[in-house]
């Protein structure tokens, strides 16, 4: 049921046009952060206002929409965002990755490979990969302009010197088409290899007023060193419910005596596998 008092997908048309122009420039300059006049949304900054604005500018009435947070469709903020677009855009919703045409996500890329025609919209807290090395926007903008990424390599190398490993486990920086260093949003580095995909990827940072994008089949390289190559890692267990050995896992504390189990973070992936008869060691 669409609420009649608001425009289709909540935002007014002028705002959508402004966001749409930013998305197109983002696709034309993969990995470059396009400034946009983010609006004040009815949900708080930090709850996905950037992703919501990008979804609002992208959705058509014919879309099937899926929202995940931490890989799950049923986390409260995913529920809240899905409901927002059910009410304001009247779109069909789904939890099935393969049925969705637009997927809004926070912190994960679905396990099931996305296909051409699908759109993945990321919620981004801090779009600037260099921000924690240089807090000033005026400086980081220059660094991107000059392709001056030495500071990032120094940081990663200092990790190796101190810990023997690169100590970044999520929001792991990537280089897009050999030009822009980009923050893939706080996805675990396990998901980084999936950034090369057939779907369109759009990134929205509301509070920081930036949109960026990756077209399908774009070259994405996680930053690393020859002697310390990038490693996508996860907990070294199969899923306790579906037995999957290839999915990113949540660690769940089951009692106060050290009991724990590992389950797929992607709830749709896990459920689909169980529906196909796969069982893990902790499954009933």
């Amino acid at each position: 049921m669409t609420e009649q008092s608001y425009n289709f997908a909540y935002l007014d048309e002028q705002t959508k046009r402004m966001i749409r122009r930013a998305i197109l420039k983002g696709l034309a300059i993969p990995g470059y952060q396009v400034p946009f006049a983010s609006r004040e949304m009815p949900t708080p900054y930090g709850w996905g206002t950037g992703g919501v604005q990008v979804s609002a500018a992208t959705l058509t009435p014919d879309d099937t929409f899926k929202v995940i947070d931490q890989g799950a469709d049923d986390t409260t903020n995913a529920v809240s965002i899905r409901r927002f677009f059910e009410r304001t855009a009247g779109v069909a919703v789904t939890t099935k990755t393969s049925e969705a045409t637009v997927i809004q996500t926070r912190h994960r890329i679905p396990e099931e490979p996305l296909t051409e025609g699908q759109i993945l919209v990321y919620q981004v807290p801090i779009p600037e990969p260099l921000r924690f090395l240089e807090p000033r926007e005026t400086e980081t903008r220059k660094m991107h302009a000059l392709e001056e990424y030495g500071l990032m390599h120094v940081k990663l190398y200092e990790d190796i010197a101190r810990h023997g490993h690169i100590a970044t486990s999520y929001a792991y920086p990537v280089k897009v088409e050999e030009r822009y260093v980009m923050d893939p949003s706080p996805i675990p580095k396990f998901d980084n290899p999936k950034l090369e995909m057939a779907a369109i990827q759009l990134f929205g940072a509301g509070r920081e007023q930036r949109i960026y994008a990756i077209p399908p089949y774009t070259g994405i390289v996680s930053l690393d060193f020859e002697d310390h190559p990038f490693e996508p890692t996860k907990a070294d267990h199969p899923c306790g419910l579906c037995g999957a050995a290839d999915s990113y896992l949540d660690e769940v504390i089951t009692d106060d005596a050290g009991g724990r189990m590992f389950v797929c973070s992607d709830t749709d992936y896990c459920e689909s596998r169980r529906a196909q008869g796969h069982r893990g060691k902790d499954a009933a």
């Binding site: 046009r17 749409r20 197109l24 696709l27 300059i29 470059y32 088409e177």
Partner: protein
Amino acid sequence: MDTIALEGGFTDTPRTASHAFRAVMTAMAHPGRIVEITGAAPPAPLSVAAGTVILTLCDPETPVHLAGACNAAEVRDWIAFHSGAPMAEPGRAMFALGAWDAHDLTAYPVGTSEYPDRSVTVIVEMPDLRSDGARLTGPGIKDTAFLSLPDLDVFRDNAARFPLGLDFLFTCGSRLAALPRTTRVE
């Protein structure tokens, strides 16, 4: 302003614009792919595709440059009435619209090193648009794509100055294809 200017806008703007945008986005994300785009009925010589792009993306915040035969009173009135976009000289435009020969590409902003997005999106009205001719590779293209481009060197030079550059939308009737600055042309 005659009545032509008042007609041919979107009938249901939010929904028509959403479909039209998705067509443009699909084209921009898949350089060389030809998509259908409809919604507007602009006055001649504008194509349906070019008119729809203008109404989908342009408004009072986006100066538009009309080149050559497109710079006609009916077109100016139609764009002004339906989008509110101001007309601009090539150097101040965000969108430029015209036939291939009418564009003076050297006059269009290509962005700055800090803001490469501040470049013109060039809409080229084409007599014909086919998936053959120039071989395209780059982001958005799985292996290769082909598009009947009006030139090769211009697009090679455009790609060579990445991340600066122009982004192109080719329109013909109700069909559209895109060529962003990232696409390599041969």
